[in-house]
C-alpha cells in the first residue's frame, strides 16, 4: 500500500510511547495466535491509528482495530473478546473467549499454531514430501515410508479394517493422499484438452485482424471456461465407522490440498466444519487435531440432524451447481430417519451429484436395510463401496464426467 510509507506521527510514537508499541506488538501476537492473518502492514497501520488519536476511547480503538484486523466473519465475532481481554484485562470476557473458541472448528489449532509459527516456512515443504516426518518416532515405521508408493498396489485390495500393522496403515494413508492428488490432475487435464471453442468471438476476431485491414482471416473462438469441480466431503466419524475414519481423513486431507475447491465436514452427533483445520500442511498434525474431535463421538450418528445443520448454515456458501457432495457413512442413523430423507431431498436440489460411500457395502451379506440408508438412497446418485483403495480409485472416472 503506497500510503504506508507516509505513516503520520511516527516520531511521536518513538518518543512518547515505546511502551505502547511493545504492547501493540504483544496484541498482534495474540491475534496471530488466535488465527488472525495479521502482517506487518496491519501493524504499521495500527500504530498510525493510535497516533491519529484513536486511543482516546477504548471503544473507538476497539472498533477501529476490529475493522483493520478482521478478515472474515469468525474474526469479526471473536475480536471484541480478544481486545477486551488484552487491553482492558477483563476476566469474564477472556473466559468466555476460551469457551467460545473451543467451539470453533479450528480451535485445537490455537496451541499448535503457536508452536508452528516459530518454525521456518521452508519446513512446510519438507513435511509435505515426507508426510509423517513428525510422527515417525511414535509410529516406528520410518524406514518403510519412502517405499509406500511401490507397495501400495499390494494394499489396494485389502479392506482398511484388516490392516493392523502401523507401517501398512501409514502406506495406506500415503496412497490415499496420492490418490486424491491424481484425481485432481486427471480432472484438469481433461478440461484442457476439451478447450476448443464453439462460438465465434466477434470483438476479438476483429481486433486480431486489424492487421489485415479488418478482413476476418484468422478467427478467434470462445468457449465457456470450465469451472473446476467442487468436492464437498461429509465424513461420518461415529463409533461404527472408527475403523475407516483414519484413512478417509487422510484422503480428505489430500483432496483439500490438491483440489482448488474442496470443503470438508465431519459429523457424528453434530456437524463440524473442518476445512480450516485440515488445510494444515502437515497431514499428521491435521489428523491428530481431528482425531481428537472424532473421539468425542464414539456413540451414535445423527446424520439427519447433521445434514440439517449443513443445509441451513453451510450449504449456501459451500454449494453451487457444479458441486459434488460425497457422504462417507455406514448409514446407521440413530436419529429420525424421516428427517434424514427430507434433508437428503433438500441437499439433492442444491448440488449436482451426491455420492454415498459406504465401507460396509462390500461386506459379505450386507444389505442396505438400516432405516437411515433406506431413507437416503432414493436421493443418492452413486452408491458405492469404499473399503479399499481400489474402490476409491474407481470413483475417478465418475467424478471426471461431472
Amino acid at each position: 500500500m503506497s500510503c504506508c510509507g507516509t505513516t503520520p506521527g511516527y516520531p511521536e510514537i518513538d518518543e512518547v510511547s515505546r511502551l505502547v508499541s511493545t504492547k501493540l506488538a504483544g496484541f498482534l501476537k495474540t491475534l496471530r495466535d488466535a488465527g488472525f492473518a495479521v502482517g506487518l502492514h496491519e501493524g504499521r497501520d495500527a500504530a498510525a491509528l493510535m497516533a491519529a488519536g484513536y486511543v482516546e476511547k477504548p471503544s473507538l480503538l476497539r472498533s477501529a482495530f476490529k475493522h483493520l484486523f478482521s478478515a472474515r466473519k469468525t474474526d469479526w465475532e471473536k475480536f471484541d473478546g480478544l481486545f477486551d481481554a488484552f487491553w482492558l484485562g477483563k476476566r469474564v470476557r477472556s473466559r468466555s473467549l476460551t469457551i467460545g473458541s473451543t467451539k470453533a472448528a479450528n480451535s485445537p489449532s490455537l496451541k499448535s499454531l503457536q508452536d508452528r509459527n516459530s518454525e521456518p516456512v521452508g519446513s512446510e515443504a519438507a513435511t509435505d514430501q515426507l508426510p509423517s516426518a513428525d510422527d515417525a518416532p511414535e509410529q516406528g515405521g520410518g524406514e518403510g515410508r519412502r517405499e509406500g508408493a511401490s507397495r501400495a498396489d499390494n494394499l489396494a485390495e485389502i479392506d482398511f479394517r484388516k490392516m493392523a500393522d502401523p507401517g501398512q496403515i501409514e502406506q495406506a494413508h500415503a496412497a490415499a493422499a496420492q490418490l486424491a492428488k491424481s484425481l485432481r490432475t486427471r480432472l484438469t487435464r481433461r478440461d484442457l484438452t476439451r478447450r476448443r471453442g464453439y462460438r465465434l468471438d466477434l470483438r476479438r476476431t476483429i481486433h486480431g485482424n486489424i492487421s489485415h485491414g479488418g478482413v476476418p482471416i484468422s478467427l478467434v473462438r470462445r468457449q465457456r471456461k470450465p469451472k473446476p469441480l467442487r468436492l464437498v466431503v461429509l465424513l461420518d466419524a461415529s463409533g461404527s465407522m472408527s475403523l475407516y475414519t483414519g484413512v478417509f481423513l487422510r484422503f480428505i486431507h489430500g483432496v483439500l490440498d490438491e483440489f482448488r475447491e474442496a470443503e470438508a465436514f465431519l459429523f457424528h452427533t453434530r456437524l463440524a466444519y473442518v476445512s480450516d483445520a485440515m488445510k494444515e500442511k502437515d497431514a499428521a498434525r491435521a489428523l491428530d487435531r481431528l482425531s481428537v474431535m472424532a473421539q468425542g463421538a464414539g456413540g451414535g450418528t445423527r446424520i439427519g440432524e447433521s445434514l440439517q445443520t449443513f443445509n441451513r448454515w453451510h450449504a449456501a456458501r459451500v454449494l453451487h451447481s457444479r458441486c459434488c457432495v460425497m457422504i462417507v457413512s455406514d448409514g446407521y442413523e440413530t436419529g429420525d430417519a424421516a428427517l434424514l430423507g427430507r434433508e437428503m431431498a433438500a441437499l439433492a436440489r442444491r448440488c449436482r451429484r451426491i455420492i454415498w460411500l459406504n465401507p460396509m457395502m462390500a461386506w459379505q451379506g450386507y444389505r442396505p436395510e438400516a432405516a437411515g440408508i433406506k431413507a437416503a438412497l432414493p436421493h443418492v446418485d452413486l452408491y458405492a463401496p469404499a473399503n479399499t483403495l481400489q474402490s476409491l480409485a474407481a470413483l475417478e472416472p465418475y467424478l471426471a464426467r461431472l
Binding site: 472498533s63 466473519k73 471456461k225
Partner: protein, 290 residues
C-alpha cells in the same frame, strides 16, 4: 479528512441509518487508504453503504457488478474496434505509422469502470459489487490494481491514477475470498439491523410510515427472521412490505390480520416458507408484536 461524528451525521443526512461502527470504518478508509470489504447476508444493505458513501463525499459512484466470466475488457478498458476499423478504411493509403498512432490514442479507448475510477478529477466511490461471483483470476488482477492504482495498456503505456478512489467491495459469501484480498481490505460485517434501527430505516425510506407502524413492522420482521426459513427476509424485503402496507392503508398491524398474512409474500420468497406460514403462525407472531 472528515471526523467520525461528521461522517455519522452525513450518513444520516443521506438517508442511510448506519450502525455505530460503520462511521469508524469509513473514517479508517480515508486514514489508511484501504478498501472496505463488506460481508453479510443478501439484502442487508451492503450496496446501500456505497451509495451513502458517495453521498457523504458528494461524489460520483462508479459501480462494477461482478459476474462469472468477468474479464479485463469488461472491467478495465477496451479498444473501440469498430471505430478503429473505420479510421483505417478512411485513411487508406496514408502513412502507416501515423494511422497507428491515431487509432491507438485516447479517442479510441473505451473506459470501463475500473479505469474510469482512477481517472476522475475528484476521487469517486468505486463499488465492486459481489466480488465473490467473479473468478479467482479476476480477484488476483483486482488485487494488483488495488495496490498500485495504475494500469498498463500495451499500446498506450502506463496510466497512473490521478486520484485514488474510495473502494468498497461487497461479498455474499457464495465463494471464499482469497486471504490476500481480505488482508488488503478493512472488514465490516453488515448484520441484520436490530428492531430500533430497522424501524428508523423504514421511517427514513417510506414516507407515510409512522413511528408506531414502523416499530410494529420491524418487530414483526424480527420475529419472522427467528422462524426457521429457507430464505430469511432482508432489509429490502422489509421496505417492500412496509411500502405495501402503507399503500394499502394499514395503520396498525393488529387491525387486519388477513391483510398482513396476504401481504407476507413481500417477505417470504420461497414456496416452502410460504406454505409453512399458515395464518395461525402469522397470528401467533402478531400476538407477540403487540
Amino acid at each position: 479528512m472528515k471526523d467520525r461524528e461528521e461522517i455519522a451525521q452525513a450518513l444520516a443526512a443521506s438517508g442511510y441509518i448506519a450502525d455505530g461502527e460503520l462511521a469508524t470504518a469509513i473514517s479508517l478508509m480515508q486514514l489508511l487508504r484501504r478498501p472496505l470489504l463488506l460481508e453479510g447476508e443478501a439484502g442487508v444493505g451492503k450496496t446501500e453503504v456505497a451509495k451513502a458513501l458517495a453521498a457523504v463525499h458528494a461524489t460520483e459512484l462508479i459501480r462494477l457488478q461482478c459476474y462469472e466470466g468477468l474479464d479485463q475488457s469488461a472491467a478495465l478498458y477496451e479498444w473501440n474496434y469498430q471505430r478503429q476499423l473505420l479510421a483505417i478504411q478512411a485513411h487508406r493509403g496514408g502513412d502507416a505509422d501515423a494511422i497507428e498512432d491515431q487509432i491507438f490514442s485516447e479517442k479510441y479507448l473505451l473506459e470501463r469502470p475500473l479505469l474510469a475510477a482512477i481517472r476522475r478529477d475528484t476521487p469517486p466511490v468505486l463499488l465492486i459489487d459481489e466480488i465473490d461471483r467473479a473468478d479467482d483470476e479476476f480477484e488476483a488482477f483486482l488485487l494488483e490494481l488495488l495496490s498500485d492504482f495504475q494500469v498498463s495498456i500495451p499500446e498506450l503505456g502506463t496510466i497512473s491514477a490521478t486520484t485514488i478512489p474510495h473502494v468498497v467491495l461487497t461479498s455474499n459469501g457464495t465463494r471464499e475470498l482469497s486471504d490476500a484480498l481480505r488482508r488488503r481490505c478493512l472488514y465490516h460485517y453488515v448484520d441484520y439491523p436490530d428492531v430500533d434501527r430497522e424501524a428508523r430505516i423504514i421511517m427514513a425510506r417510506i414516507s407515510g410510515a409512522g413511528a408506531s407502524l414502523s416499530l410494529q413492522i420491524a418487530r414483526m420482521v424480527e420475529s419472522i427472521r427467528k422462524e426457521e426459513l429457507r430464505k430469511v427476509p432482508g432489509v429490502a424485503e422489509t421496505l417492500d412490505w412496509a411500502a405495501a402496507l402503507v399503500g394499502i392503508g394499514v395503520r396498525d398491524l393488529q387491525e387486519a390480520p388477513e391483510t398482513i398474512h396476504d401481504t407476507l409474500m413481500c417477505l417470504l420468497k420461497t414456496h416452502e416458507d410460504r406454505a409453512r406460514f399458515k395464518p395461525e403462525v402469522t397470528a401467533r407472531l402478531l400476538g407477540k408484536v403487540a
